[in-house]
């Protein structure tokens, strides 16, 4: 009887341990029914859309695009980086958030199916007794075959350090915030299984 109880307890503990170890990705803001990012073959990455209302701070859009591409490659996605900024000329935050099928079908090169767009909605830094930075980024994936937005997520990055040291670091705060925001979004992106 004692042996059975001990076996049962061991099994229950093992089950609990396994459940605890299993990682579930946090949910994105939007994921179309049936869409699995892992099923994408080549992902075409548009130049980053600067959707900020206040564009006073300089922003390395090319660097952001390259970081995103590299992050996706690490997750085993095949990426095509589109560098022609004319591809996003005139694209607004509203176009990305409420796209019409015709609009989606017209973005990116004709051979592409999965098109990814990153939009920076906010970037600021502030100095108090210390300094802070805030950033907002939205990542969109469009399926040109269906003309729909299939995936969207947002990252709200905040960084800051108090004191004199923090005050001297003010110029780094917006970069830290945007990196933080990007990481929040990319962490929700699943790794592609090996050999797919």
């Amino acid at each position: 009887m004692k042996k059975q109880l001990s076996l049962l307890l061991s099994l229950a503990s093992a089950a609990l341990l396994l459940t605890g170890c299993a990682t579930t990705l946090p949910q994105p803001l939007h994921s179309a029914a049936g869409f699995q990012p892992e099923s994408m073959d080549a992902v075409y990455i548009l130049p980053v859309v600067d959707a900020r209302a206040d564009k006073k701070l300089s922003l390395n859009l090319g660097g952001l695009q390259r970081n995103m591409a590299s992050s996706l490659q690490q997750k085993r996605y095949k990426v095509v980086v589109l560098e022609d900024t004319n591809l996003v000329a005139g694209i607004t935050d509203e176009d990305l958030k409420e796209p019409t099928p015709d609009w989606v079908k017209g973005i990116g090169p004709s051979e592409s199916r999965w098109v990814m767009a990153l939009a920076v909605g906010e970037l600021s830094r502030k100095i108090t007794f210390g300094s802070t930075g805030n950033a907002e980024v939205n990542l969109f994936i469009f399926d040109k075959q269906t003309g729909t937005l299939v995936w969207e997520d947002k990252g709200l990055g905040r960084a800051g350090q108090g004191g004199l040291l923090g005050m001297m670091m003010v110029s780094m705060m917006d970069e830290a915030a945007i990196e933080n925001a990007m990481n929040q979004v990319m962490v929700k992106f699943p790794k592609k299984p090996k050999g797919t």
């Binding site: 803001l29 206040d54 300094s131 802070t132 947002k154 905040r158 004199l164 001297m168 003010v170």
Partner: protein, 222 residues
């Protein structure tokens, strides 16, 4: 000690240039402004549509109940301020459609246009929204319609961790956009936008500054 004080002062002075919570983000222009400055004839009758104010969670973008954040008061204050500022600029035929002599049908169109303010302020306005504006035109006078849209993002407050010294700033903002459209043609006569990095409250001193800045680029032609 002396070095630290000087350094702090230098950083503080530098900081003053980036600390403003209010930023004018629009150029204050209209369609024809590339060639000519945006001026509106002083004799124009202006219908001030009920402003549209939308609250959303900064993190999740979920729409929030505007009454929980003082939305109705902000809408009323914005409309009132707009009428007052336009009047002070010399546009004396300014009114809200609800309190006007417009026909019942036109009042409905004005309400539909108000509800579409987010589409009217866009670079490429929705044709349906413009259709509502065209319905407010008059045959015997020049009529313009003022649409205002405010997107308020309600985000987390600033934080301070006494152990690590890490601090963060609040992530709320209010983006004010206004556009003046010609009711005969739907043409954009003037537009401007202002970003306030906090939740807009009509009783806050920043509110009046924002609205004044928003209309500061509107020029009249006598």
């Amino acid at each position: 000690m002396c070095f630290s004080t000087v350094l702090a002062l230098v950083v503080l002075i530098a900081g003053c240039t980036i600390n403003s919570n209010i930023t004018q983000t629009g150029g204050g222009t209209g369609d024809a402004s590339a060639a000519t400055p945006s001026v509106v004839p002083a004799s124009t009758r202006v219908w001030v549509l009920t402003p549209k104010v939308v609250y959303e969670d900064t993190r999740t973008e979920v729409t929030l109940d505007s009454s929980d954040h003082g939305g109705p008061a902000l809408v009323a204050a914005l409309a009132e301020q707009a009428v007052s500022i336009l009047d002070s600029k010399g546009l004396h035929e300014v009114a809200c459609p609800r309190e006007s002599s417009l026909s019942a049908e036109q009042k409905v169109l004005a309400e539909q246009a108000s509800a579409s303010a987010n589409h009217l302020v866009r670079v490429n306005p929705d044709p349906q929204a413009i259709h509502y504006i065209l319905g407010l035109a008059s045959t015997n006078e020049s009529v313009a319609v003022l649409a205002q849209y405010v997107r308020v993002k309600v985000g987390p407050h600033g934080t301070w961790d006494p152990n690590s010294g890490a601090i963060t700033s609040g992530a709320s903002s209010s983006y004010f956009r206004a556009v003046l459209l010609d009711a005969q043609t739907g043409r954009r006569l003037w537009e401007n936008s202002v970003l306030l990095r906090e939740v807009a409250k009509p009783n806050n001193s920043n509110f009046k500054t924002v609205v004044t800045l928003l209309f500061s680029t509107l020029n009249l032609q006598n």
